[in-house]
């Protein structure tokens, strides 16, 4: 069974199997025999993999698994490849600015049809009491600016959309 895991923004495609006695995770780096046993603590497990034994704390969120191990906390995003395929909608990620946080639009510097250069300020937003200027991710033409000054927006809303690049 396949899964795509995302760690620090990097995606890795894995495949989990079972050889009759234990689980085997196939990663691009090789095959890892692994075992996870509860310790009794809330979210506590012992992980055996790659010849090491680690005590960890773990919580499974809707989109990511949080792992506390070696005194650090890590976030492992989980993507089901089948769902990703179904959810694909064509536009590429550098065409749009996606809201990193919910917030409010402070000012809008451009309008649809404007030609912009990479790094040019498109709008100023305020999230958590901090002002941030969002700039064009590449040279292009503005297709949409869905929010006006004073509008509130939610997490992952599209704040600016550039016209697709011509091939």
């Amino acid at each position: 069974m396949q899964r795509i895991f995302q760690i620090d923004g990097e995606e890795t495609e894995c495949w989990l199997g079972h050889d009759g006695s234990r689980f085997v995770l196939n990663t691009p780096n090789g095959t890892v025999a692994c075992q996870l046993d509860p310790t009794g603590l809330p979210g506590g497990y012992t992980l055996r993999a790659k010849g090491v034994v680690r005590e960890l704390r773990l919580a499974v969120g809707p989109e990511a698994t949080f792992v506390h191990m070696n005194g650090r906390t890590y976030e492992v995003g989980r993507v089901d490849p089948a769902e990703r395929l179904a959810g694909s909608d064509g536009g590429t990620s550098d065409d749009r600015l996606v809201a990193p946080m919910p917030g409010v639009v402070v000012s809008v510097a451009v309008k649809p049809g404007d030609t912009v250069e990479e790094g040019q300020p498109l709008l100023v937003i305020e999230s958590m009491k901090l002002e941030t200027t969002l700039t064009a991710p590449r040279d292009g033409v503005v297709a949409e600016m869905p929010f006006a000054e004073g509008d509130s927006f939610g997490l992952k809303d599209i704040l600016a959309q550039l016209a697709p690049e011509e091939e």
Partner: protein, 489 residues
């Protein structure tokens, strides 16, 4: 005036912290809660909870008439404001006075004076205490830009009514001065409802050192030593400690006495903090006075053995100071880490989410002032600070070791936090040697956010084996196929 029932007009960790002391002193206690707010530790401690409402949760906590009414309705004879929100709002103090409710803090006149950075600065300068070269817009708005230029670069623009680093901009080149002034003015207008500005000479590689003071309102003032707060991101502190590793005993006495002198000059009442900019050559300048309890007050408590909230309540009840200067010790070393829901690798972007698992550290020399509960939710409604981890050791080396051990064992799962980043700061050789300035985090950002050892295979194994759907799907595949490496559907 005796106090028998205290309303804490705040939330989160500070509300819980104040309530604990109030209860220990035998007071009846109450705390506010916004109708849409998550349950927090304070709500479990208080005898009574007063629901408040407003267009946003923050607006509710800033709603003076509503909070004064709440105090009257429940028969509270005193209000503790915590920090932030209405803690430095003179109108709030005046409204409470009018309602016959005691404000646990200074007089509205003192708050007014110290809340206006320009008047405060002038007051301090007139009395012979050190201040940095500056230009004040109000002195002559028409020539402000010109006079700002004359201060020289780099310079720092600040809103006159500001605090907490909001709206502050460092300007290094003349070409950006005017646009930065406009941005600062807009931010000042929005955060504080006041767009007036001033600029001051920006001291390179400065340290931020502050002194805890406490006054009885009659002119008796003692200090509780200094705190070093140079570890800041976006002008906001995230690690504080005491004693400061930068000061010699003579400098320590000088800066602490200066702070006490400033507080004496206003006949200060209650707990306050005098903040200084400390230059590499040992010169120091008055920055501002915060007329409230600070976020970082616990480090002072751990080295002096005093409960500063208990002192505040004593003073508010007219019982005066419990200590004389000679019996306020500074024993061992204490460090505070602010645990924040933010991503240090993404420009400290605040993060939100459900708290899936919370296990906070404990042990000798470890104190946690927490504002969250397991199963709660972190939203964008309030500040991203979740809790504070405070440690005490016999010396700085032991305090750092304890802080590292404790922060590594601080388990917060479900929302991105800065625990790993805080540990990286504590592990940095410049932090260990005490050679830091307020620019330390920005200068060292790459080192501090560098990825550690690559353990992605282990993490993916843990994520895969804890994914119940994945595991059950794998086990449903006929055994023969399961065994075939690279089986794909």
């Amino acid at each position: 005036m005796t106090i028998s029932k205290l309303l804490v007009a705040n939330r989160g960790e500070i509300a819980a912290r104040v309530l604990r002391t109030a209860k220990a002193r035998g007071l009846a206690t109450a705390v506010l809660r916004h109708v849409a707010e998550q349950e927090g530790p304070a709500h479990l401690i208080a005898d009574e909870i007063v629901m408040i409402d407003g267009p946003t949760p923050v607006a509710a906590y800033l709603d003076i008439p509503q909070i004064v009414d709440a105090a009257k309705k429940i028969g509270a004879d005193a209000v503790h404001p915590g920090y932030g929100f209405l803690s430095e709002n003179a109108a709030f103090v005046a409204a409470l006075e009018e309602a016959g409710v005691t404000f646990v803090g200074p007089t509205s006149e003192t708050i007014d004076l110290m809340g206006d950075k320009i008047r405060a600065r002038a007051f301090v300068e007139e009395r012979g205490f050190p201040v940095a070269p500056s230009a004040i817009e109000d002195d002559d708005p028409a020539t402000f830009v010109e006079r700002a230029r004359a201060v020289g670069y780099p310079l720092l623009i600040k809103p006159s009514a500001g605090g907490g680093g909001k709206g502050m901009r460092v300007v290094r080149e003349d070409s950006t001065l005017e646009t930065e002034i406009e941005t600062a003015r807009r931010e000042g207008q929005r955060y504080f409802g006041d767009g007036r500005l001033f600029v001051e000479c920006y001291i390179e590689r400065p340290r931020h050192i502050e002194v805890q003071v406490m006054g009885d309102g009659q002119g008796n003032v003692v200090h509780f030593w200094e705190r070093e707060c140079s570890i800041q991101r976006r002008f906001q502190k995230i690690i504080e400690e005491t004693p400061s590793p930068a000061l010699t005993p003579e400098q320590r006495d000088e800066i602490c006495e200066t702070a006490a002198g400033i507080a004496r000059a206003v006949k200060y009442r209650g707990a306050g903090t005098v903040e200084f900019i400390y230059a590499q050559d040992g010169a120091f300048y008055f920055l501002e006075m915060n007329t409230r309890l600070q976020v970082e007050h616990p480090v002072t408590e751990l080295v002096t053995g005093f409960d500063l909230v208990a002192e505040q309540l004593r003073i508010a009840a007219g019982e005066g100071l419990s200590a004389t200067q000679a019996n306020i010790p500074q024993t061992g070393h204490s460090i505070e880490l602010r645990i924040c829901a933010e991503d240090a690798t993404a420009d400290f972007r605040p993060s939100i989410g459900d708290l899936l698992l919370l296990d906070e550290p404990s042990g000798p020399g470890v104190r946690v002032d927490s504002g969250i509960l397991d199963g709660g939710k972190v939203t964008t409604d309030f500040d991203p600070m979740l809790s504070k981890l405070i440690v005490h050791g016999r010396d700085r080396v032991e305090a750092i070791a304890r802080a590292r051990q404790a922060v590594q064992n601080y388990v917060v799962l479900g929302v991105t936090t800065n625990t790993g980043y805080l540990d990286a700061i504590l592990a940095h050789p410049d932090f260990a040697s005490g050679d830091v300035s307020t620019g330390f985090l920005a200068e060292q950002s790459e080192t501090l956010t560098a990825p550690g050892e690559d353990i992605s295979d282990l993490l993916m194994a843990a994520a895969a084996l804890s994914d119940e759907r994945l595991v059950s799907d794998v086990m449903q595949i006929p055994e023969m196929h399961r065994k075939m490496g690279g089986w794909r559907n």
